[in-house]
Every structure is written in structure tokens, then in C-alpha cells.
């Protein structure tokens, strides 16, 4: 399969999914007017990727969102849900939830996602100055 690359805009994040290195990055801001239109290809890629993923491969997901709106928060939950299911099926996936030093709200979102998932590894990572 091919890598997925979508450049950032003012209200959508950069998507950089590398299926050779098994590193998936979502970086930037997320508050599109039409949430479905933007994320549909992202979910489609993710589902195909997990289907072909072998159990001995280690996957790293980096989520570095400076700001996201409430409907993006729902999308992120659905995204993590797919990952949790994959882990239940024997895949090895770790999520880095990256936040800025003084950004309590993004940290709190990360903590709440940790509470929501049983076996998916979500690491809270403070961004270095």
C-alpha cells in the first residue's frame, strides 16, 4: 500500500502516515467546517493499513494537536477506538499524545482518552521547548 500524505491547512492538520516505517503523524489544528469530508480518506487508509499489518510490527502514532474542536474530538475517539480494537487482535501500537508545556486543556484531553481505553498504550508527552 501507499503512504498517506495530506498537507496542513489553517484548519486541518498535517497527515503523514508512513506504512514502511510504521509511523503515523497527525500534527496541527483541526476545526474543519465539514469534518466528514476531511477525515473520510484518513479512516479509509487506517482500516486498510491495519488489515495488512503483521502482529510482529511495532507501530507509533504521534498526535500533536495544538487545537481541535469538539467534533474533531469525536473523530479522535473513533480513531483511537480502531487502534484499541487492533491491539485486542494482537497488533502492537503505541500512541504519543503530545502537548505544549502550559496547555492544560490538551493534557486533560489526553488524560481522558487514557481513561477511555483499556489496553491501548497512550503516552502523554510534553513537547520540549
Amino acid at each position: 500500500m501507499e503512504n498517506l500524505k495530506i498537507g496542513a491547512t489553517k484548519y486541518t492538520p498535517e497527515i503523514s502516515f508512513d506504512c514502511e516505517k510504521n509511523i503515523l503523524d497527525i500534527i496541527g489544528e483541526s476545526y474543519p467546517e465539514n469534518i466528514a469530508e476531511f477525515y473520510a480518506p484518513v479512516f479509509k487508509w487506517l482500516e486498510q493499513y491495519i488489515e495488512q499489518l503483521k502482529n510482529d510490527q511495532n507501530v507509533t502514532i504521534n498526535m500533536e494537536l495544538i487545537y481541535f474542536n469538539s467534533s474533531s474530538s469525536k473523530v479522535l475517539l473513533d480513531f483511537l477506538d480502531i487502534l484499541e480494537q487492533a491491539v485486542k487482535n494482537g497488533k502492537h501500537i503505541a500512541v504519543n499524545w503530545i502537548y505544549e508545556e502550559e496547555d492544560e486543556d490538551t493534557l486533560e484531553f489526553g488524560e481522558e482518552f487514557q481513561e477511555d481505553f483499556e489496553i491501548l498504550d497512550i503516552n502523554l508527552v510534553q513537547k520540549k521547548g
Binding site: 479512516f43 474542536n69 467534533s71 502550559e102
Partner: protein, 184 residues
Amino acid sequence: MVGKLYDFRQELGRQGIFFCFSGPVSQDLLVEFGDILKQKILHGESSNSIALRVFSMVVEQAQNIIHYSAEKCVKNDSEGEERELSIGIIAVGYEGEHYFVVSGNMIEEENVEGLRNRLAKLQKMDKNELKKHYKEERKKGPAITSKGAGLGFIDMAKKASKPIEFDFKKIDDKFSFFSSRTVI
């Protein structure tokens, strides 16, 4: 009107309002407003985390107008395609050491009761109840194909320092004007 514009501006100033927009609300307006906030941070008038909260309130309220306002107009976009825009009013101010965001738009009379009940319920919740409610609603929220996730008001209530104030003004048999005020 031209003679009264200064008075209008003075009145906004008295209310502590430093940004006010009335008309068709678009995503571009949000980007513009985000830039105004970044300037405030640069000049040390606001911290990064407070500015992000103000921005998030503006985004949620503006997108509520975009998705749910009952008043629309049609505009041609840069590619000449006709686009429907939603009309509303949004203002941001600073009062008593807190930022606040007020917004308003027309809604259909049949949606007034549902919205009133939802907001009244949120007003009574404390921070822990809001957090729990947010998580539950997010889990059962609609599929990705929906316009929004219906989480906007809960998110705002969670981030606000006071319960969200709201009002419905009956315009005629079909429409009411909905307004809300959130304090950061």
C-alpha cells in the same frame, strides 16, 4: 446611521467588546479571529492557554451558527460556485478580568424547547458531571457523516468559568432569536 456609528462603537467599548461581527459567518472569519488572538498573546495581553480557550469558544459558537442558523444567504465563492452561508452575530470582550464570547442566530421555533432543555441541564452540572456527560455523549455521538458531534455546548460548559447564559427571543410564529454568553 452614519452619524451614529461612533456611538455604536463607544457602546461596544463600554461593554468591553473588542471584536464584533454581524453577517454571514464563515470558516475564514475564524482564521481571521485566530490571528487577532495571536497578536494579543504576542503583546503579552493574554497567556497562550487562555487565548486557546477563547479561540475554542469562538470556533464552537461560530460553527453552531454555520451549521444551525435558520437565516441563510447565497454567495459565489472564488471558483464561481454558489455557496450557502449562515447569518449570525458573534462578539468577544473582556470584563472583570475574564474574556467572554456572546453569539446569536435565528432558529426555528420547533427547535427552541429542545435546545432550552439541553442548556438548562448543562447549567445545573458541576465540572465532574460535565466531564462525565461529555464522555458519554462523545461515545454515543453520531457517525462521522453528521454535521457536528453535538458536543459543542458541553465542551464550552466544561471550559467556561461560569454556567453558560442563554436567551430565546420570539420573533414570529416560525422563528426565535437564540443568544448565548460564555465566560472564560
